[in-house]
């Protein structure tokens, strides 16, 4: 499942063209992304994670990416990283944060936000795989190091990916879409456009001060997705958008962090 070349990647994609939208901010929507056997393997892996239970969070969870899972390794491949960066015209630096996301039916809606958040990385990826956060060595949110001999680096999200998997069939009115907004003050139920949770479809966007999106909630069925971000150095984002545009994490009750 780990693609080593662009040809390997071509073999797991259906070959359908993706849609690129310029407004209200640059984003891509792709349907029927992976060939059926690859989608099926990702869905099986996702369902295994779901079977592990929801933990302590009511109605939803965001869980660390199960990197050792053979199907999920595709998302952590250097080839996939490069493909997403090229699709958005934003080359990545080989650092990726990824996770799996689940919302129970009727989960609370979110709010328009831009994902321009920072994160700390240590270590390097390989020729075939990207570097991912290593929580046992470095606190992803604060940068605190828990081990010696590592050099940390602060990065900021540059491209976001949301891939829908293991969802029941979706029809208009079922809710659970990801809304796309012109500003942070738009009501969550009044998006400029909405991407429904249709299996094997995906949205990508360039994280900028204006990439306002949010979970619209009102979902009749569970909503499941794989989420992933490419990162670039903080200085690059500060040069491009201004350092004040970076949305810092705030310490939240229970040793968590929120943007």
């Amino acid at each position: 499942m780990l693609p080593e070349t662009r040809s390997d990647l071509a073999a797991v994609l259906t070959g359908e063209h993706w849609w690129r939208y310029e407004t209200p901010f640059p984003h891509v929507v792709a349907h029927n992304v992976f060939v059926p056997e690859v989608y099926g393997a990702i869905e099986d892996s996702f369902n295994r994670e779901l079977a592990n239970g929801f933990g302590t969070e009511p109605g939803q969870f965001t869980r660390q990416f199960p990197r050792d899972d053979e199907a999920f390794r595709l998302f952590g491949s250097r080839q996939w990283h490069d493909l997403l960066g090229e699709a958005m015209g934003v080359p990545g630096w080989g650092d990726v944060e990824a996770g799996i996301h689940h919302h129970e039916p009727g989960a609370a809606s979110g709010f328009p936000h831009n994902d321009l958040n920072p994160g700390w990385f240590v270590g390097e990826g390989t020729e075939l795989e990207v570097a991912m956060p290593r929580a046992e060595i470095c606190n992803f949110y604060s940068g605190e190091l828990y081990a010696e001999g590592y050099e940390r680096r602060e990065m900021v999200r540059s491209v976001a990916m949301l891939y829908y998997v293991a969802n029941p069939p979706w029809s208009p009115g079922d809710g659970g879409e990801t809304g796309i907004y012109r500003s942070a003050s738009c009501p969550i139920d009044r998006p400029a456009s909405a991407i429904p949770p249709v299996n094997n479809s995906m949205m990508l966007f360039h994280c900028t001060p204006y990439s306002f999106h949010g979970y619209m909630g009102n979902n009749r069925h569970p909503r499941n997705s794989v989420i992933l971000w490419l990162y670039v150095p903080r200085a690059e984002v500060a040069d491009r958008w201004g350092k004040e545009s970076i949305v810092e994490w705030k310490e939240a009750p229970g040793n968590g962090y929120a943007s």
Binding site: L9, E86, G89
Partner: protein, 255 residues
């Protein structure tokens, strides 16, 4: 070669400019998908835009996103508007003229429908005004606005360019069947048929033809989408005015 002939020769390679309402619907999307190589289309949509390349959206090859794709060659000009607001009609026509400097064909395909009984429920009754506003009156407002802003001062060009209006009606306008619950939809299309005929009479003086296209429910095996699109092409390229082209699966018939 006379001056007029020279102008016609210059214009012949140009695509005709079509102002299309209801572009986000099934017919509108199919029109944009299949006829964008023949027309420069101003695609007016209220909700989601048609799934075709536009000024704001295009297809990419994920394996080579910078590669120009043939499918992006004929982009439509998509305009989001709620045409129940008269100011939006003005804005849409102004944008179309600003973009292409002319309108050769107006296709009124925006539609509102609600089905149900007249007795025992207020649902149909509550929707009646909107159905008449969108299905009957809006096409007239669109055509009059285009006439006021462009056609009235280009009457000679209108004739030479065979400019015209196609109003999307329905065979539901020819029958009274209470069991369909379509009292609002059917009668709004009856009104559209007659308004089209009145418009045809009045628009003769500015050299613009007006016709209606009345397909049965589509797309079906009897009335495929292609037949409805061909119906628009037939009315656009013909010389008829004040007629209704019926597509009921028995072959196109002009009424």
């Amino acid at each position: 070669m006379g001056k007029g002939e020279h102008r016609r020769m210059e214009r012949s390679p140009r695509k005709r400019v079509c102002l299309l309402t209801g572009a986000g619907g099934a017919f509108g999307s199919a029109f944009c998908q299949q006829l964008a190589s023949d027309y420069d289309i101003v695609a007016v949509h209220r909700g989601a835009p048609p799934q075709v390349p536009t000024q704001d959206q295009s297809r990419i090859d994920p394996l080579d996103p910078r590669k120009p794709l043939v499918v992006n060659t004929h982009r439509v000009f998509a305009v989001q508007a709620d045409l129940e607001d008269d100011r939006e009609i003005d804005r849409v026509v102004e944008l179309a003229l600003a973009r292409y400097e002319r309108i050769d064909l107006l296709v009124n395909a925006a539609v509102s429908y609600s089905f149900g009984p007249l007795l025992g429920s207020r649902r149909l009754l509550d929707s009646l005004e909107q159905q008449f506003r969108v299905n009957s009156i809006l096409p007239v407002k669109m055509a009059v606005t285009v006439a006021e802003r462009f056609w009235q001062v280009h009457d000679q060009d209108n004739l030479s360019e065979n400019r015209n209006v196609v109003n999307l009606s329905s065979t539901a306008s020819f029958t009274v069947r209470a069991d369909t619950g379509g009292a609002g939809y059917s009668t709004s299309k009856v009104a559209l048929n007659y308004l089209s005929r009145f418009m045809a009479q009045e628009f003769k003086r500015v050299g613009v033809r007006v016709n209606a296209l009345a397909p049965a429910a589509f797309p079906t095996a009897e009335v495929p989408m292609r037949a409805v699109l061909d119906g628009v092409r037939q009315l656009d390229s013909g010389a008829m005015t004040g007629r209704i082209l019926v597509l009921d699966g028995q072959g196109p018939q002009l009424r």
